[in-house]
Symmetry: C2
């Protein structure tokens, strides 16, 4: 029996999913082609049907294949969705595009949280928070202004980082601070004085705003951020079906 070739790390269904994704990208099943039946795949890879279904559920969630009772699964397209980590971190997102991410920290301040901020971060009234203001660039071009709030515990870690550090997410992960869930809200705002100065845009110019609220695995808030992008530099794409949904960012 065949063995999933995607390495020996992690769960079998993940390796199998990676394998199938690869096979689809290579065109092994052709565009608009039909996948082998679950039973057949189970035999080919020497796993149970349950494991095959788990792997296919991943591809389904990423919008790679259809699934419908009575018919074999159909290939919809090649992988477009980014990993959760590319989504969460500007740095990883930029690198996955082959662009050079840059960061300039404009300021870090520690101050008492306002009521709304307390609520968003799940803190007791009057708790101390850190606020970080950064300008993010793509191949040296200013792209986004990032205003991030952290509870004191996390902010203290950020404060200790090299001011020139490009990624904040990675060092935090090394400290065991893991963003497990994130809620994104996307809307349109007009540039304020800081935005204008940092991005070099006109006063009141329209910007795409992405607000991100992240929690750890236990559901405790870790971060709340307000990111404003120059229009034309980014687009958000979401794939959804009756079953699931997947978000990604793209260059606009």
């Amino acid at each position: 029996m065949a063995v999933a070739g995607g390495g020996t790390t992690g769960a079998r269904y993940r390796r199998l999913a990676a394998d199938l994704r690869e096979a689809i990208a290579t065109g092994a099943y052709g565009a608009d082609g039909r996948l082998p039946s679950e039973e057949k795949l189970a035999q080919q890879y020497g796993v149970s049907r349950g494991t095959v279904r788990q792997a296919l559920a991943v591809l389904r969630a990423n919008g790679l294949v259809t699934s419908r009772r009575g018919t074999r699964r159909v290939v919809l397209g090649t992988a477009r969705t980014q990993s959760f980590f590319e989504l969460l971190s500007f740095t990883r997102w930029a690198r996955s595009l082959g662009e050079e991410p840059g960061s300039r920290t404009i300021g870090i301040e520690r101050r008492p949280a306002e009521p709304l901020e307390c609520e968003q971060l799940g803190l007791a009234p009057g708790s101390q928070i850190y606020r970080v203001l950064r300008l993010r660039t793509l191949s040296r071009v200013p792209i986004m202004v990032e205003r991030t709030l952290y509870p004191e515990r996390i902010g203290a870690l950020i404060k200790r980082l090299d001011p020139h550090a490009i990624s904040h997410t990675d060092p935090l992960a090394e400290e065991g601070v893991v963003f497990a869930d994130t809620e994104h809200t996307i809307d349109l705002v007009y540039a304020d004085a800081d935005d204008t100065r940092l991005l070099g845009c006109a006063p009141d110019a329209p910007l795409m705003r992405e607000r991100r609220r992240a929690t750890d695995q236990a559901g405790r808030p870790l971060m709340w951020s307000d990111d404003r992008f120059v229009p034309g530099t980014i687009a958000f794409t979401v794939h959804n079906s009756v079953a699931t949904t997947a978000l990604s960012r793209r260059r606009g």
Copy 2:
């Protein structure tokens, strides 16, 4: 043994998911509370652990609960995510907000598809398509301009509809045309002449654009739409985790 109370329709895990969602919304497990273990739930509802896990996967995907090896699941919040159908249809979305959706069809034309359009709709070059231009309102206030392309087969159905019909999605569903998968792309554009005239905004005013491409269950393209919203009237929210993602629209 207890029986899932959410009706007797559909799969058990769906009824169970609805039941648990309800229980969470009612606060039966308290905010920040912990859910019973999977084993316990299986006993309570008289189903197997597998079925419980399937139900919980739905709640997980909607960002309602955490999931983490070693600890009980934690309630993150009450249901915010909309159903796939509310997401797809402006009409259903509006109604779920308690607003009165309105529609004015500005024009329907039948013409040969341009190359890009052929590609997006998966049609042979030169195929005929329908293009529908509509103004959508919320409680009589113009909110969005919708430009939709349909392949000939679907467009012919649209053309037969009552010009005053508010929803196009519902009548199509009755004809057996079901949108199973949709890809959304969100970015920022500037109002053209039509947008300006219909929405009553300034020329070149910034608008939020949502482009939607829908396919049927077999992966065949059914629709391609360019929707432009007045800023401040809508925000897109996406919840995502290492596992899954869920999109919804909100009033801005």
